[in-house]
């Protein structure tokens, strides 16, 4: 690990100023992803700016009926909050589906959104990776692509997936990210927070250097959101990243879909809001055939990767089955 200096600012504004003044500095919060990357040599910062004592740890009611989650709230506390469990079950379920008890105690709300892809080539500086270095190609194409993207990709481009479970639920629920930057505070809708790789896969989010996530706001709950959940499909039953996952919220009245939210994990460079599927389903009967047709419309644009080491075409039927069974369960039928 290359040497770095360590700063522990007293307030958030000082943290932002300190980071912005050093182009090679990084924020440190829970450290669960950053420490691993420091050891692997994936990142080599000049300075760590510790924000673990300046980002708040409160979950507070908002005037509009929503909740403000301070960026420093540990994942385990967020999942255990009685209001979150009752009003936003998909958020609690998504967090609990990820990592381990120890990691959830350490990881922060802000850091969870900013974790990097678990692509094995990204984590190994001895293999080419266009996400680490734009001048390099993608080793996952033609390599081990089992965990990689099928939506929002471009020919020959990065096929990394975003690893966060929490972010998938937040995208389904239209959360807002509060950010403090060198030019002041601003709000970013979570759906615009993470990026597709485009021509710069090194950037996961729209944040600029010096931007600090200070809180995440959940809007007032709705009948659909109260009836929401998160389903994660993975290679082992616990403590593994998603092959595919789905955060789904559903309100049905008289057998008809009144409101539906679907966000997918493990399929794209960012949590994927399935707007086509949602639009297809609204006002339609809550039946398996309709659910299947809606997700099929969403996956029309999917571009699986073929590879001698294992491609990811299996994600198309896996997403379909996951979303259909989750919708069926939320509609009141058996999963």
């Amino acid at each position: 690990m290359k040497p770095f200096t360590y700063a522990r600012p007293a307030v958030a504004s000082e943290a932002v100023t300190t980071l912005a003044a050093d182009p090679d500095a990084r924020f440190l919060a829970g450290g669960t992803n950053l420490l691993d990357h420091l050891k692997l040599g994936v990142v080599e910062p000049s300075q760590l700016v510790d924000v673990s004592r300046v980002t708040g740890t409160a979950i507070e009611e908002l005037a509009d009926g929503g909740l403000r989650i301070d960026a420093g709230v540990p994942n385990s506390d967020l999942a255990a909050d009685a209001r979150v469990r009752e009003r936003y079950p998909a958020v609690a379920a998504a967090i609990l589906a990820g990592a381990s008890g120890q990691l959830r105690n350490m990881a922060s709300t802000g850091g969870n959104l900013l974790q990097r892809t678990r692509c094995a080539y990204f984590a190994d500086p001895t293999t080419p990776c266009t996400k680490r270095d734009l001048s390099q190609g993608c080793s996952a194409r033609g390599g081990w692509a089992r965990y990689h993207a099928v939506l929002g990709t471009a020919a020959d481009g990065c096929i990394a997936t975003h690893p966060s479970d929490l972010a998938v639920a937040l995208v389904a629920l239209d959360a807002q990210v509060q950010v403090l930057g060198p030019d002041g505070a601003r709000t970013i809708p979570i759906g615009e927070f993470h990026r597709l790789p485009g021509d710069d896969p090194t950037r996961d989010t729209v944040l600029a250097h010096g931007d600090l996530v200070t809180a995440v706001d959940l809007p007032a709950t709705t009948p659909a959101v109260r009836n929401s959940t998160y389903r994660k499909v993975r290679d082992r039953a616990s403590y593994a990243f998603a092959l595919v996952s789905a955060a789904v919220a559903l309100e049905v009245a008289d057998g008809t879909v009144v409101d539906v939210r679907i966000a997918l994990g493990g399929v794209a460079h960012k949590p994927w809001r399935a707007t086509t599927a949602e639009a297809t389903l609204r006002g339609r009967p809550a039946t398996d055939d309709e659910f299947r047709a809606a997700i099929a419309a969403e996956l029309d644009a999917a571009a699986p990767v073929d590879s001698p080491l294992g491609g990811n075409a299996f994600k198309i039927p896996l997403v379909t089955g996951t979303v259909v069974s989750t919708l069926r369960a939320l509609a009141g039928g058996a999963a």
């Binding site: 690990m1 450290g31 420490l35 050891k39 385990s76 379920a93 008890g101 350490m106």
Partner: protein
């Protein structure tokens, strides 16, 4: 060469003042600087749980924690769980149920179990809790899920789950009792 930074930390009830390179993990500070070798270095990447300690009362991975960031905190390792009255009930249960073979993962397993039992008592749900807003019953399925961050390459999992189950419900026999029966 990095400049060292002064810090203090309390480990198993004893306060230590030291200066650390900012790159030093809590695990390395414990083992290499303070010679507290209870927490083990398995993978050093947060995947195995052998380095689990209780940091200000919560189970965490000391290998993914920078020591300097925890200036002023209180660490309890499996060693520090014992009191003048004897071993911690979870430790007693691991002995009673033979919940190990080689023992390398055991200090981390015990700290993780202590944390997991505390989390369940505080009503914190897990991924297998049927009703997210309901009561938590620490059955074998819940224990397996909550302990999934601790790997055991000897695969003593069956007995680990039994040990945690009995410790959680206060029914673990004491090792002294077993010895008396032997």
């Amino acid at each position: 060469m990095s400049t060292t930074i002064p810090m203090s930390i309390t480990v198993d009830g004893e306060r230590h003042d030291l200066a650390v390179d900012p790159r030093t993990t809590l695990l390395d500070a414990l083992r290499e600087r303070l010679r507290v070798t209870t927490a083990k270095k398995g993978c050093d990447h947060g995947q195995c749980g052998a380095c689990t300690v209780l940091l200000d009362g919560r189970r965490v991975l000391s290998c993914l924690t920078l020591a300097v960031a925890k200036d002023g905190s209180h660490v309890v390792t499996a060693d520090g769980l014992a009191t003048d009255d004897g071993l911690h009930p979870v430790t007693e249960a691991f002995l009673a149920y033979d919940a190990y073979q080689c023992g390398f993962c055991t200090p981390g397993q015990i700290c993780s179990a202590v944390g997991a039992i505390d989390e369940a008592r505080r009503g914190m749900p897990s991924a297998v809790t049927a009703d997210l807003t309901g009561e938590v019953t620490l059955d074998r399925t819940e224990i397996a899920e909550r302990m999934s961050g601790n790997l055991c390459r000897c695969a003593a999992y069956v007995n680990i789950v039994s040990a945690v189950e009995d410790a959680a419900h206060g029914t673990a026999p004491r090792s002294s009792t077993l010895e008396a029966q032997a």
